[in-house]
């Protein structure tokens, strides 16, 4: 098929360079590679953690030693040597770490500038509060004051452990227990930083909260931990964005995100993930093994996950909802792209426990190049979940003839009053659709963007407006001209 001009433009445009692949030359305080109890104690000490935190880490580590790496996903993973990873890397502090933005190393700020992260005035204009995590340490949190007035706590996880230990201790590990799975348990032992959000009873968080994660140092893993708690009637919308430099070796990213929504609370969690995916031959790239779970603990609470996954060499991720409270609602909207040699095994779990619980799953998988994209979802309805309802829609779009799309829906329904619906489609970016656009004078590149964006529209609609545009652009860059 090499004679097909579409294929040639596909090859040329798939070669699109990763735009965030620079390395910041900055002095870092990095713990030598390797993992043992002393390393964990060292991390805990560097972060000046209270005893309960260290105990929890050690408990997790000891449990991790008894576990095995999971290999059930539809992924080919090169062996990971956990002893060759450095579990802590922090930009070297001039004194005791930055107290305000002015004290942050200008090189770091430059990095975030390149990434287009609105740390300074741009943040104000955008009305977005940003927490930025560089390798293992949170470097700046903007808008703390304004949020503070509303009673919202938004800070780095390390700061939360020091300043709000009671809240952390109360909620940490209650949604994703330290024994949960191999990567979550590893994270529990060595997690470095992340974000903490607490929205008290009845408060509507006055702005979008946002965290940007970046892996800079070589041979480090990033193990961030995010905990978001919305008390009764509270509302918060949170967005995370991720990038990493281009490196030939694979880097491990094993994060844990826990969401807790109490009665009538609502949490919207959006992700635009653009970790380095490896080069066009599949060399390098981030292994993104993430455990994300939210619990609708209170009645009539609501948790929505929206994700746009364009990066990473391998993605293993199932943002899930445990619908404990009666009448609670779980939603999952996902666009996952697998281009070149990227592999994505992603989906969600909806666990219906309370009465009249409802869940919606909309998954859009796009495969191009040699990419392999799998949707894996579980809908579980327990006997207590009377009148539970689920609707699942999984659509796959194939671009070219070397990629693959796979759907693995699991359903376990244990009450006769439940209603569970599943729809799935797989389509090739139609020659018909493409020709239709071309015959109206539209260029091939614009036509593909248009068709792909149309395919993803229902998901983009769920993103906060300013990020929907970003997601569209990201998708355009990831797929430019990928037509077969």
């Amino acid at each position: 098929m090499a004679s097909n001009p579409h294929d040639e433009s596909l090859e040329a445009l798939v070669g699109q360079k990763y735009r965030h692949g620079f390395v910041t030359d900055i002095e870092a305080d990095t713990v030598p590679p390797g993992l043992n109890e002393d390393v964990i104690r060292l991390i805990s000490r560097k972060k000046e953690e209270p005893q309960f935190m260290l105990d929890w880490r050690l408990k997790s580590y000891r449990h991790w030693l008894t576990m095995r790496e999971p290999h059930w996903a539809h992924l080919r993973i090169a062996p990971i040597d956990y002893q060759s990873i450095s579990y802590y890397s922090a930009p070297k502090a001039r004194a005791d770490g930055p107290k305000s933005l002015d004290e942050v190393d200008p090189k770091l700020l430059e990095t975030y500038d390149k990434l287009g992260i609105p740390l300074h005035e741009r943040a104000k204009l955008a009305g977005v509060a940003v927490d930025a995590v560089f390798d293992s340490v949170s470097v700046a949190t903007t808008f703390k004051e304004r949020l503070g007035k509303a009673g919202v706590i938004f800070c780095s996880f390390s700061e939360a452990v020091q300043k709000h230990p009671a809240l952390v201790e109360k909620y940490l590990g209650t949604v994703v227990p330290y024994t949960d799975n191999y990567f979550a348990t590893l994270n529990s032992a060595v997690f470095s930083d992340g974000s903490f959000v607490f929205v008290p009873k009845g408060v509507r968080c006055p702005m979008e909260l946002s965290t940007y994660f970046r892996i800079n140092a070589a041979n480090t893993g990033q193990f961030e931990r995010t905990l978001i708690v919305a008390e009764e009637g509270a509302y918060v919308s949170y967005l995370e964005g991720c990038t990493a430099p281009m490196r030939d070796e694979n880097q491990l990213h094993a994060a844990v995100v826990e969401l807790v929504a109490l009665e009538n609370a609502q949490i919207k969690y959006s992700t635009v993930q653009n970790w380095y995916p490896g080069d066009e031959n599949g060399k390098g790239g981030i292994y993104n093994f993430v455990t994300k779970r939210g619990e609708c603990r209170g009645a009539s609470s609501r948790i929505s996950w929206t994700q746009v996954e364009t990066g990473s060499a391998i993605t293993w991720k199932y943002p899930s909802c445990i619908l404990t409270g009666d009448n609670s609602v779980g939603e999952f909207y996902s666009v996952a792209v697998a281009n070149n040699y990227q592999q994505a095994d992603t989906g969600t779990k909806m666990i219906h426990i309370g009465r009249n619980t409802r869940s919606t799953i909309v998954s859009k998988g796009i495969s191009a190049g040699h990419g392999q994209n799998s949707y894996r979802g579980l809908v579980k309805v327990l006997p207590s979940a009377v009148n539970a309802r689920n609707f699942t829609q999984c659509d796959s779009l194939l671009m070219g003839d070397k990629c693959g799309a796979h759907t693995f829906p699991y359903m376990e329904v244990r009450t006769p009053t439940a209603s569970v619906e599943h729809e799935a489609t797989t389509s090739k970016i139609g020659d018909d659709q493409l020709f239709y656009c071309l015959s109206r004078g539209i260029s091939e590149e614009d036509a593909v963007n248009m068709i792909v964006n149309g395919f993803c529209k229902v998901v983009f609609k769920e993103l906060p407006m300013e990020f929907a545009v970003e997601a569209q652009n990201l998708l355009a860059v990831s797929l430019e001209g990928s037509v077969g």
Binding site: D431, F435, Y436, L438, R440, G441, M450, G454
Partner: protein, 253 residues
């Protein structure tokens, strides 16, 4: 002036030779109808003219306004003023109907060195054209052909034609699947687009379309060749007698 000149066109689709030397000349301001039995190569002909992939031109040439049409990619043909109204317009879910049309029009305008229309200018233009096709406002916000009935899809094609204002319009069975009222609307739309500087080539099975859109010339395409050409009375004769006599006549010649 000659708008389109097809000379001895041979086309293969896969292993199958579909067109065996089609020659046809269409002048500016003229309306030509191409009729013929199923599988005669009518749709292939217009698809090849519009630039669809998957066909090999094995011999012959096509000149459009004096230029080699076959050398241009499909989007360039559209920008030069060639328009194909599809027999089966495809659905593109999630892509707004009007957004696609605006992108197309602005691509054409850009190509011709005209300023792009902004959303307001475009909307007022498209609203005016929609009246012509008896289309209601809801068309503005629907996905491209998404959930359209057969008649709505065909009307939408002619709406696009009226907005893009082509020099050469190729209408591929625009009458198929239409009830008599929809046919009248579509035909009126096409008639209102007849102009001295525009050529229209219609592919159709039935005489009934030609009751509404009167052609200057009628051609019978069968077995990949044009067997007979004539004026509009030929269509009436075909309606009465079918295609077999044309085939026999051609075989005897």
């Amino acid at each position: 002036m000659s708008m389109l000149k097809i000379d001895n066109l041979h086309v293969r689709a896969g292993d199958k030779q579909v067109l065996h030397g089609v020659s046809l000349e269409v002048g500016a301001g003229e309306v030509h109808a191409i009729m013929g039995p199923n599988g005669s190569g009518k749709s292939t002909l217009v698809q090849v003219l519009a630039g669809r992939e998957g066909y090999d031109v094995t011999a012959g040439s096509v000149s459009y306004q004096g230029r080699d049409l076959l050398a241009l990619p499909p989007e360039a043909r559209a920008r030069e003023g060639v328009f194909l109204a599809f027999q089966y317009p495809v659905e593109i879910p999630g892509v707004n109907n009007v957004y696609l049309l605006k992108a197309g029009l602005n691509a054409l305008r850009q190509h011709r060195g005209l300023p792009e229309l902004d959303a307001f200018e475009f909307l007022s233009l498209v609203r005016e054209k929609m009246k012509l096709m008896h289309m209601d406002e809801s068309f503005l916000n629907r996905g491209v052909n998404e959930g359209f009935s057969g008649g709505e899809k065909k009307r939408n094609e002619i709406l696009q034609m009226s907005v893009l204002e082509p020099a050469l319009a190729l209408l591929d069975e625009t009458d198929s699947g239409l009830d008599i009222d929809a046919l009248r609307v579509v035909a009126n739309g096409v008639n209102s687009l007849r102009r001295q500087d525009r050529a229209i080539v219609m592919v159709t099975h039935y005489q009934r379309l030609l009751d509404y859109i009167e052609p200057d010339r009628v051609h019978v395409l069968s077995g990949g060749r044009i067997l007979k050409s004539g004026d509009k009375s030929l269509a009436l004769e075909l309606e009465k007698r079918g295609y077999d006599w044309v085939k026999q006549e051609a075989a005897a010649a």
